[in-house]
């Protein structure tokens, strides 16, 4: 595929575009859904395409195509040049320059390419079977999915950036419905890895079943100010909202609640948060980002103090800083944008049982709905629907649902009181987080 990106640079030069970047990718993927012991859906995919970014006097144009033939490449270059002519100039928008060797991370396990459909199907079936066997109250497993993707990236620009890598990942997922006395509750779980061999299908299925069954009989609880323990799935969902506010793009454009707070306490000292695009186990790890900048670890919050923001080439130039390797691509169809890679929540781990034992009154939150729509990354206010299990006098008691959890992000971060010893990767983005204990939250119920 270097022939494709090189051809794009030549065609652009022929049209008088001097500062040009070409990003090509190709890959294969599989998605298998099973239902009631049978394959319900099998999807085999091949994809390829190229995206072209043209810089002209600070204005940027972008175009992409899946047609890698001569006509397709000529057309995509012409469009990118035309789009640059229509965009407004910004002196900080420049072609990324080479910035050092790629990170030493190998985001690919050759076992991935050796997987057969038989093995993939067997894995998915093992997830569903374990969920159904886990508890007689499991009614059905609405979705049991196995997905893998194996792709190559080729990047080159007219300033000399040039590189390629192969990345692969796979995951299994189960969405379980449990029923008791006519009421239905749901539970999910994931297993993630770089090769099928790393996934524990039965454990994934059993956990999803347990999460659904634990909520059976849930009812609203009274409104209260109380402690909450966010389990890793829920903590990861909140971090997803938080992370958009930790990009320099949001800060520079006045839509981050963290703007101007560098060097100040924004969380309890027990909390440390970092982005690490070169983490050996991270699903979003890569040798370099979508602009060719090496991926690396960037501290965001250390001992409660805001350290800085995530940058791509543009925001770094504007801030007089260095890119942190966070110019991420969603695919060849879109230009790079500042986004987190792997987010890591770190701190002194406290045994989960000890955390619960120390809560007099609160809720273990195992599901939050509407985090995306109910949390505002600009104002920091959030109000979401939650379900989980009541904690009374240090013990998990009855399940709750149809209650709300509301507050503001910084207030919540400052009220963190402990991090659990149960850290795990959650594929909502890519987040490594334990359970998090937070004090004094507003719970809205009856």
């Amino acid at each position: 595929m270097f022939d494709v990106v090189d051809r794009v640079l030549e065609l652009a030069a022929a049209r008088g575009a001097r500062d040009v970047e070409a990003y090509a990718e190709r890959g294969v993927s599989r998605r298998i859904k099973v239902y009631q012991g049978e394959v319900e859906q099998l999807v085999a995919a091949r994809r390829c395409g190229v995206g072209v970014r043209v810089f002209r006097d600070g204005a940027v144009g972008y175009a992409s195509t899946s047609d890698l033939g001569p006509e397709g490449l000529d057309d995509v270059v012409a469009r990118a040049v035309a789009h640059a002519a229509a965009a407004d100039a910004d002196p900080f928008r420049t072609l990324p320059a080479p910035s050092g060797p790629p990170a030493a991370v190998e985001p690919y396990d050759p076992r991935l390419a050796a997987a057969t459909d038989e093995r993939r199907i067997d894995l998915a079936l093992s997830v569903e079977a374990a969920a159904l066997a886990a508890d007689p109250r499991v009614k059905t497993v609405e979705d049991t999915v196995y997905v893998d993707g194996d792709g190559e990236v080729y990047l080159a620009n007219s300033a000399g950036v040039r590189g390629s890598y192969r990345a692969g990942q796979c995951y299994a997922y189960a969405y379980v419905l449990a029923e008791d006395e006519g009421r239905v509750e749901t539970g999910v779980s994931y297993a993630v890895g770089r090769a099928l061999e790393e996934l524990d299908g039965p454990a994934c299925g059993a956990e999803a079943a347990a999460r659904a069954c634990r909520l059976l009989g849930a009812r609203p609880c009274p409104s209260m100010k109380a402690a909450v323990v966010l389990d890793p799935f829920v903590a990861a969902a909140f971090l997803g909202v938080l992370s958009s506010a930790l990009t320099a793009e949001a800060a520079q454009k006045g839509r981050s609640l963290f703007a101007g707070l560098e060097g100040q306490a924004v969380a309890d000292p027990r909390l440390t948060l970092a982005d690490d695009g070169a983490h050996p186990d991270g699903l979003d790890s890569a040798p370099f980002d979508g602009e060719g900048t090496p991926c690396r670890r960037t501290p965001l919050v250390s001992a409660g103090v805001l350290q800085g923001f995530l940058h791509d080439t543009y925001t770094a130039r504007k801030a007089g800083a260095e890119s942190t390797g966070n110019g991420q691509r969603g695919g060849y169809q879109s230009p790079p944008a500042v986004r987190p890679t792997n987010l890591l929540v770190e701190g002194e781990p406290v045994p989960f049982g000890t955390i619960v034992a120390g809560v007099d009154r609160g809720v273990l939150v195992t599901d939050a709905v509407g985090v995306h729509s109910g949390a505002n990354p600009i104002s920091g206010e959030f109000s979401v629907g939650i379900s989980g299990v009541l904690i009374e006098h240090g013990r998990l008691t009855t399940p709750v649902r149809e209650v709300t959890l509301a507050g503001d992000i910084i207030g919540m971060l400052k009220s963190v009181r402990a991090l659990g010893d149960d850290a795990r990767w959650v594929p909502a983005g890519s987040v490594l987080t334990p359970s998090v204990l937070i004090e004094g939250m507003a719970i809205g119920g009856t």
């Binding site: 049978e38 394959v39 319900e40 859906q41 099998l42 999807v43 085999a44 995919a45 091949r46 994809r47 395409g49 940027v60 972008y62 175009a63 992409s64 899946s66 047609d67 397709g72 469009r79 789009h83 640059a84 229509a86 965009a87 407004d88 100039a89 910004d90 928008r93 059905t140 609405e142 419905l177 239905v184 749901t186 454009k253 006045g254 839509r255 169809q333 879109s334 230009p335 709905v369 509407g370 729509s373 109910g374 505002n376 600009i378 104002s379 206010e381 109000s383 979401v384 629907g385 379900s387 649902r401 149809e402 209650v403 709300t404 959890l405 509301a406 507050g407 503001d408 809205g444 009856t446």
Partner: protein, 466 residues
């Protein structure tokens, strides 16, 4: 271009190849999509992004199983490879369905006319439009701190050919503007959002309508600067027209999609003809609303779209089917088999979904509410079809006191359960309005319309901080 002249013989050969080892239905979905997106922020048009994607998906159905393969290339070798992939994946080879001779090509009958195809409008004109929206929003008040204006258009051409001999060609043109305004007063930051979208060409972008949308977004953000924290607890909720339609979409619509129904994973499964809403509620899904954002002449399986009665006088009257679920449940496909692109398997989806308007005026509904919450604009929501539990963020909310809309309230969420909320609807006004949105399900985003008149729910849980 190859698409216009795409060889129907190759399509038929691909279908036959997919059925080589067995299967009872095969289809090829060929797509050519051309789109442009503009994004303005910080007064600058900073993104001008366009793309052309061509590809095909080959689908094989056998009993209740789906085998699907897609490719980004439309040459014979790629289509054969995709057909071979689905044939090879078939778990229990056996008899194949016959491949019928291809019938006449059916096309959009001009239900959604396009006056000004977006690709015939210069990028500079589109750029001027987002700048005008930016200027207009900023002129509303000095506390407007930021404006993010986006414009997008797309032309999607599809060719659908299946083993029943059906051949459908459809062209969908969609154009949309969105304006997000950030207002700031000291440490208080609030946002307002407005959209304008239709299955039409650039003629949607009438200057007066664009400027009105920009002003509306700014007014929402500024109004919320004065907001105090919303209260917590159960209370009467009046949902305004337009964006309020998200309520029905989330609280009920997803539960009526036949994939959830077929798996018994919807609270509406097995309830046909039963009371699921207050008797004043009638609701529809209509894929044929002329030029509607969620409309198209055919669904993505080549089935003509239609108007489906979902709830009649409070009783459940219909589900939304694609071909596969219609077959499983012994019903007729309802034209709701939709997919985001050739990279996706069609699944039952809504088009434009709405609760039919009533007779009262919006003013009468509010005046009849001594104390409650007025949700003028919803930010989006989520539902679990299995339990019916849903949650919405409220973008713009107010207190209702003594039958009047009073103080703005921020940070509110509405939480509830589908059937309960529909049963608790006790007033519906006559100010019907539709809004455009993008609905996500199973990792696929499709354009949907939501419609509603102002209505009242007698009690709903409001989650706030106050």
């Amino acid at each position: 271009m190859p698409f216009d002249t795409f060889d129907l013989g190759l399509a038929r050969a691909t279908i036959a190849r997919a059925l080589a080892r067995g299967g009872d239905f095969a289809e090829v979905f060929v797509e050519d999509r051309d789109g442009l997106a503009l994004r303005l922020e910080d007064r600058r048009l900073e993104q001008v992004v366009g793309g052309r994607e061509r590809g095909a998906g080959v689908r094989l159905l056998h009993d209740e199983r789906t085998y699907y393969a897609y490719t980004d290339a439309l040459d014979e070798a790629s289509l054969c490879a995709a057909a071979d992939a689905v044939a090879a994946a078939l778990r229990d080879p056996g008899a194949s369905a016959p491949v019928d001779d291809l019938g006449p090509v059916r096309r959009d009958a001009g239900l959604h006319p396009v006056v000004l195809p977006p690709d015939q409008v210069e990028v500079a004109r589109k750029a001027a439009l987002v700048h005008a929206a930016d200027d207009e929003a900023r002129a509303v008040g000095h506390e407007v701190a930021q404006v993010i204006a986006g414009y997008a258009d797309a032309r999607q051409e599809v060719l659908i050919v299946n083993s029943l001999g059906e051949v459908v060609r459809d062209t969908r043109t969609r154009t949309r503007l969105s304006v997000q305004v950030v207002a700031r007063r000291d440490a208080v930051i609030q946002t307002g959002h407005e959209t304008l979208g239709a299955s039409r060409g650039f003629e949607v972008m009438d200057e007066a309508a664009v400027l009105a949308a920009a002003r509306e977004a700014a007014h929402k953000a500024l109004a919320m600067l004065d907001a105090r924290p919303a209260p917590m607890g159960a209370m009467p909720v009046v949902l305004a027209n337009g964006f309020g339609g998200t309520l029905f979409h989330e609280a009920c619509g997803h539960g009526l999609e036949a994939d959830a129904v077929a798996k018994g994973a919807s609270i509406y499964a097995g309830m046909m003809g039963e009371l699921v809403a207050a008797p004043i509620v009638s609701a529809f899904d209509d894929g044929g609303v002329p030029n509607g954002w969620g409309s198209q002449a055919f669904d993505d399986e080549g089935v003509p779209t239609q108007k489906t009665r979902l709830i009649e006088d409070g009783r459940l009257a219909g589900y939304l089917y694609d071909r596969l679920r219609a077959r499983q449940l012994g019903a007729a496909p309802s034209g709701n088999g939709r997919r985001q692109s050739f990279r996706h398997v069609p699944i039952p989806r809504m088009t434009t979904t709405y609760i039919a308007p009533g007779a009262a005026t919006a003013e009468e509904v509010i005046a009849a509410t001594p104390k409650g919450f007025y949700a003028k604009s919803l930010a989006g929501g989520q539902v679990e079809p299995a339990s019916g539990a849903f949650v919405f963020g409220v973008a713009e909310g107010y207190l209702i006191e003594s039958g009047r809309v009073t103080a703005p309230l921020r940070g509110a969420t509405l939480v509830g359960n589908g059937i309960q909320v529909l049963k608790d609807i006790d007033m519906i006004a006559n100010d019907y309005e539709e809004k455009s949105g993008v609905c996500g399900k199973d990792g696929q985003g499709v354009p949907v319309g939501t419609g509603q008149a102002t209505l009242r729910v007698s009690a709903m849980t409001v989650g706030g901080t106050g």
